[in-house]
């Protein structure tokens, strides 16, 4: 029961944070220079048109009133209307969010799958050549701009070798009719993975490097624990000690760093989507900003916040699942 209660408690805790996010985005959107009416209607609109627009978007009312309207709108799932796309903001977000989540989650999977063996080997062979290689790789990983990795991958693997496509990211569950050169769902999945490889690596490298560093130091510490000494004294084989005794304990800091890395990864998705011309949330917010589409700017910023908050809750619950003391300790 502890875990469920803990989850609910964490969800309830996130409500003030979400209201805070809305406040910040509303405040920022209010500061954007330029008259929204003029942007919508041009420099010399008819008076009737101006009033109609002002009434529709509530621009004739004071800011705090509009804020409360917006807040209650968000609570009921109404994020406003995108002027640029002439569609509800929520509809645009629901169209683009899966692409960004697909990219980000894949990037994390790539990062975890490569980083954990690297970190474990590094810790096991501390100060040996394998450790040095792994540390240099992770040092370069944390120091390289993700968008530059993307550019280099495009130049090498798309332009020179022609192995991977340079732009776009179709979803694996897309309708085969919409994807060029695909007839069955299986081919759609193949095309999708083919497109995914390079942006996933570009976005995941930083996470990979960070997780490797944490995994290494955490494993080094765990391998010095009393229980490991005891297992050694009992004659348990070294590989079994690493797999069974040291590994699980060492994963707690790793989960924390994954949760915190989400913020970087979601921000990095904006850059990765720009490099690979992927139509996700990142491109949506840039389009919204370039077209001064206020409600779309607020909606996308808010949604990035929600994605991060949800991600952190998921990692917190995972943490509590592995280490039950967390769920029972916080009452």
């Amino acid at each position: 029961m502890g875990l469920l209660r803990y989850t609910l408690w964490r969800l309830a805790q996130s409500i003030p944070v979400l209201i805070g996010i809305i406040t910040i985005t509303f405040f920022l959107a209010n500061q954007i220079p330029g008259d929204p009416v003029e942007i919508m209607l041009g420099p010399t609109p008819a008076q009737a048109q101006v009033e109609a627009i002002q009434a529709r978007y509530g621009l004739d009312r004071p800011a705090h009133e509009r804020f409360l309207t917006y807040l209650s709108g968000v609570a009921t799932g109404d994020l406003g209307h995108s002027i640029y796309y002439d569609r509800p903001v929520l509809e645009m977000i629901l169209l683009r969010l899966p692409v960004t989540l697909y990219l980000t989650v894949s990037a994390f999977l790539f990062a975890i799958v490569t980083a954990i063996p690297l970190g474990v080997i590094s810790a096991k062979r501390r100060n040996k050549p394998a450790d040095h290689v792994s540390r240099i790789v992770s040092l370069i990983g944390v120091s390289t701009p993700s968008f530059w990795i993307g550019l280099m991958l495009i130049i090498i693997f798309a332009f020179y070798l022609g192995w991977f496509p340079a732009r776009g990211l179709p979803l694996p569950w897309a309708d085969p009719a919409d994807i060029r050169g695909a007839e069955t769902q299986l081919q759609v999945i193949r095309t999708s993975l083919h497109h995914l490889a390079m942006p996933m690596i570009a976005l995941g490298t930083l996470q990979m490097a960070q997780i490797t560093r944490i995994e290494r130091s955490s494993m080094v510490e765990s391998l010095q624990g009393e229980y490991v000494k005891l297992a050694r004294a009992y004659g348990v084989s070294e590989s079994k000690i690493v797999r069974k005794h040291a590994f699980q304990v060492a994963q707690l800091p790793v989960i924390t760093i994954i949760g915190l890395g989400l913020s970087t990864a979601l921000g990095g998705a904006v850059l990765t989507e720009t490099v690979f011309e992927i139509q996700g949330m990142g491109r949506l917010i840039i389009t919204a900003i370039n077209n001064q589409d206020y409600e779309l700017i607020m909606g996308t910023t808010f949604m990035f916040g929600v994605a991060f908050v949800v991600g952190v809750i998921v990692t917190d619950v995972a943490y509590a699942y592995i280490d039950p003391r967390v769920a029972y300790g916080d009452e």
């Binding site: 209010n30 490099v275 908050v309």
Partner: protein
């Protein structure tokens, strides 16, 4: 107090040599520098950071005081389009569809015929400035909020921590983009925006230090002696948190340089023709096929600079951690 000298007095007392029989203290700036000197990686970090900073200072002098006079005298102007335009020349010795590179352009030329090397050189100014300024803003803001929050506790702590948590809850690149849309797209707001997003990092660090230091005997003593809260925070608590903050700040400079490069890549930050690395990468995107090396150089510059700060940070961390050295 005897086993842990105040780092503030320790940093200023560089000249005075301690007694021969005295045990060396394992904290303070002098001890740290000694440890850093022993560590080759940290030394490499110091040299890299020093080298890049020196370039940035030279570029800044030439830009602010001489309006690129030195650049034009010895090389090419980093901002003016040349009279005799040779677009997208490859680096020396390499050949592409526009022919072989010439020796005056060791890294080739960009899409407007400007020398890439000179633009990289002058782009260092922007990278180093934003790195230090943004981190400085985050450091000062985060230290103050963290110290006040941790020292007073109670509702002040609650309010301040909820606010920084909320700032932290928006992915920081998105937050800075929204911030710059609202206030301005130029470099100043990029620095302020990145600085604000790094406040939570320093806040968390300082607050946890303060909460543990608050109960120390010498703080108790200072309070009993009637020292004002403000002075306790500024004179005792903040200097005592110096070590981890220094490490975090060094690493944060690298992070800030990466974020600002990303912002420039998206068109938020230094505006053309001012040379900045992110903006050069952004321009190079359209010429990846005819001039692939155009994209290579600015990325390498960012990589080398950020690696410098990262290994310096790691080296400092090892040097400042008494558990590691024995």
């Amino acid at each position: 107090m005897a086993t842990e000298p105040d780092p503030q007095t320790d940093t200023t007392a560089d000249g005075s040599e301690s007694g021969a029989g005295e045990v060396e203290a394992r904290v303070g700036l002098r001890y740290t520098l000694k440890q850093v000197k022993r560590d080759t990686t940290a030394l490499m970090g110091i040299y890299t950071v020093g080298f890049v900073t020196l370039i940035a200072v030279l570029a800044a002098i030439d830009y602010y005081l001489l309006d690129y006079a030195v650049a034009e005298m010895f090389w090419y102007s980093p901002v003016q389009d040349p009279d005799e335009v040779q677009r997208l020349l490859p680096p020396v010795g390499m050949e592409n569809q526009f022919g072989a590179g010439v020796i005056e352009h060791p890294m080739g030329t960009d899409h407007r015929g400007r020398d890439i090397f000179v633009r990289l050189f002058y782009g260092t100014r922007i990278a180093i400035t934003v790195g230090f300024m943004a981190t400085g803003i985050g450091l000062v803001g985060g230290t103050l909020i963290g110290a006040v929050s941790g020292y007073y506790g109670g509702w002040i702590d609650d309010v301040l921590q909820r606010i920084t948590e909320t700032v932290y809850a928006i992915p920081f690149l998105v937050l800075v983009i929204a911030f710059m849309t609202a206030f301005g797209r130029d470099l100043t707001f990029a620095m302020i925006g990145v600085g604000i997003t790094s406040i939570p990092v320093f806040n968390r660090l300082i607050r946890s230090r303060v909460v543990s230091i608050r109960e120390e005997d010498y703080i108790e003593a200072a309070r009993a002696a009637g020292v004002k809260d403000r002075n306790i925070i500024l004179r005792h608590i903040i200097p005592n948190s110096f070590a981890p903050v220094l490490v975090q700040a060094t690493l944060q400079i690298g992070v800030s340089i990466l974020i600002v490069a990303g912002l420039s890549f998206l068109g938020f930050g230094a505006q053309p023709p001012t040379p900045s690395w992110g903006q050069m990468l952004s321009a190079s995107r359209n010429y990846m096929l005819p001039a692939p090396t155009f994209s290579l150089w600015p990325g390498m510059a960012i990589l080398v600079t950020v690696i410098g700060f990262n290994i310096l940070g790691d080296g400092l961390q090892d040097a400042l951690d008494p558990r590691i050295n024995n």
